[in-house]
């Protein structure tokens, strides 16, 4: 019997194609990209060796510093916002709406599946000031406030981006965390209630610790996603005004394809990879103890 399930030819037929495509499209290019970071040039003009020049440039390039700072700042704020909004929604589903939550869950989940480019263009117009004040500025006007040109400065554009990302994704985290909350045994909640815990105290002392593992996986998932933010920025601000909302992903793209600097682009991609791995590792280490407990 062992021979049948260990049939080498069958394993090769089943696994071979996937492994081949995966290696050609992902594994080989990863290593290849590493090689590019020691060169300059591009696929049209050809490549020449460049030693460590790209890495030296990476360390001193103010645009990289700005992009890295933006990426980290954005990732931090959005991660907190996404997971917090998602958790509050999940609590709302479980403890307030209860059985009636299916409709609300569906509605709040809507934006998750929408094309980011479409959402980006939509938000551009929701927050616009000219030629027509968009709904947001109309609302400000109705409240007696001055309309704001949201995309004129990096500071306000950043917040529109944040609002859009949270709007887009909170339904996803809500459902994810909802799944975790539903798993809390009823007896535990009930006995806590009998002991007089209710409302916030119930959440703080019973629900929060018990949903900690799923909260942590949401956090890691969110950080990973937000560090790689691309579509949303391109569609909403395209990195502007100036380069004030340019994350590493977009800077890498511009360097490579707008300026044709493949070597330096690869070096930026490598930096992005290292940052993603480091952040995941830190979060993972911080939470490992609790994850194994749950």
């Amino acid at each position: 019997m062992h021979r049948v399930l260990g049939d080498r030819r069958a394993i090769l037929i089943l696994l071979g194609p996937a492994l081949l495509v995966y290696s050609l499209i992902m594994l080989v290019p990863m290593v290849w990209s590493l090689g590019y970071s020691f060169t300059k040039g591009n696929s049209i003009d050809g490549f020449t060796g460049n030693g460590l020049a790209n890495f030296e440039r990476l360390l001193t390039d103010p645009a990289v510093h700005e992009a890295l700072w933006f990426t980290l700042k954005f990732s931090f704020v959005v991660t907190i916002g996404q997971v917090l909004a998602g958790y509050l929604l999940a609590l709302l589903y479980v403890f307030h709406l209860k059985r009636a939550s299916a409709l609300v869950r569906t509605l709040v989940f809507f934006p998750v599946v929408l094309p980011t480019v479409a959402v980006g263009l939509l938000f551009q117009n929701l927050f616009q000031v000219a030629p027509q004040p968009g709904p947001v500025n109309s609302l400000l006007g109705a409240l007696g406030l001055e309309p704001v040109d949201w995309f004129a400065s990096g500071g306000t554009a950043f917040w529109v981006l944040i609002v859009m990302e949270i709007w887009r994704s909170m339904g996803f985290y809500a459902v994810l965390l909802f799944a975790g909350l539903v798993d809390i045994p009823d007896e535990v909640l009930e006995s806590a209630r009998l002991d007089g815990a209710s409302g916030l105290r119930l959440v703080r002392h019973i629900v929060l610790p018990l949903s900690f593992p799923v909260l942590m996986s949401s956090l890691i998932f969110s950080i990973n996603g937000t560090l790689k933010i691309f579509d949303a920025v391109v569609a909403l601000t395209n990195g502007g005004p100036g380069s004030s909302t340019t994350p590493l992903t977009l800077y890498m793209f511009q360097t490579s394809f707008t300026y044709g600097e493949y070597g330096y682009g690869s070096t930026i991609a490598l930096l992005l990879t290292v940052v993603s791995l480091l952040v995941s590792l830190v979060v993972f280490r911080l939470t490992r103890r609790d994850l194994t407990k749950g």
Partner: protein, 302 residues
């Protein structure tokens, strides 16, 4: 859902005996539903108003859009905006390109991923957990890392200028999650099922095809939905590998819509956005529960 059962199962007399332990029930019983109702109402407005507003704007004429407040209803309903977006704005062509890139990618991802998941979980051989880890690496590395080598590769093999770069890249990048999810699903299928099948004379390949596939049919559907939304909504890969206007997918086309069509044509622009959004929404509503489960299932495991 499961959470509210204990409340119901609690005998009434028992609950009435409670106040000694908690606060008087009346206070929160009156004040809170009001607040919560407002919260829920606000939430629904925040979720749906942008979409409603977008739809209303898509049927406004340009003069109507420019002269009247943004929240007002359309004075005349200009359905022609949709025709214009579809034909002059090329959305029809972009949708066609997207379909032609997404369908083959999806078919390849599912076929290769399911087979690999089977080989990695059901079959017994040395080094299969290592192979699984190798696939997992693909989920951690940002796609930017593979863009430039692939661009060179497609350029040198003459594949640029076709939809093949998209199909190949989507297949490659979609495999890690698919293989991982399928391997996880196969864990729930007892190996004895396949042993029994082979005792009855079926080869292991036949057992994979005729026995395992029907068993994991739901899982395949879930993975298909998750991957569909990933690929359909992708911008990065499509933007990198579609250098000519004729190859643009919906996302790239939409991004360039304002540039190509003139920023002044607001009606058709919003109609184009609407076609995208409501097209996706229709698919989502049709498959609602599966999508949610699939996306979150993939998330927890990924």
């Amino acid at each position: 859902m499961a959470v509210d059962t204990p409340l119901k199962s609690t005998p009434r007399g028992h609950r009435r005996g409670l106040p000694a332990a908690g606060r008087p029930p009346r206070r929160r019983g009156r004040a809170r539903p009001w607040v919560m109702r407002v919260v829920v109402a606000l939430l629904l407005v925040v979720e749906t108003y942008p979409l409603v507003w977008m739809f209303l704007t898509s049927v406004k004429s340009n003069a109507d859009y420019l002269n009247n407040p943004s929240w007002s209803l359309p004075t005349t309903w200009e359905w022609g905006n949709y025709t214009e977006a579809w034909t002059t704005g090329n959305i029809g062509l972009y949708v066609q390109n997207s379909v032609m890139a997404v369908v083959p990618s999806l078919a390849l991802i599912l076929l290769l991923g399911t087979a690999a998941g089977f080989a990695l979980q059901i079959m017994v051989w040395k080094g299969r957990s290592l192979t699984l880890v190798v696939f997992l690496v693909g989920m951690m590395v940002p796609p930017q890392m593979i863009l430039l080598p692939l661009f060179t590769l497609y350029f040198q093999t003459g594949l640029s200028g076709t939809l093949w770069p998209l199909i190949l890249t989507y297949t490659g990048t979609g495999l890690p999650l698919t293989v991982f999810m399928m391997a996880t699903y196969y864990k729930t299928v007892p190996r004895e099922l396949f042993e029994a099948a082979t005792i009855d004379g079926a080869g292991i390949l036949r057992a994979f095809w005729t026995i395992s596939l029907p068993v994991v049919r739901n899982a395949v559907l879930t993975v298909a939905l998750v991957q569909f939304f990933f690929i359909w909504n992708d911008l990065l890969i499509a933007l990198t590998f579609t250098n000519s206007q004729d190859l643009r997918t919906v996302q790239v086309g939409l991004l360039n819509f304002t540039a190509d069509f003139g920023a002044t044509q607001y009606g058709p622009l919003f109609a184009a956005i609407c076609i995208n959004v409501f097209g996706t929404l229709a698919i989502y509503l049709f498959l609602n529960q599966k999508v949610m489960k699939g996306l979150t299932g993939g998330a927890v495991k990924g």
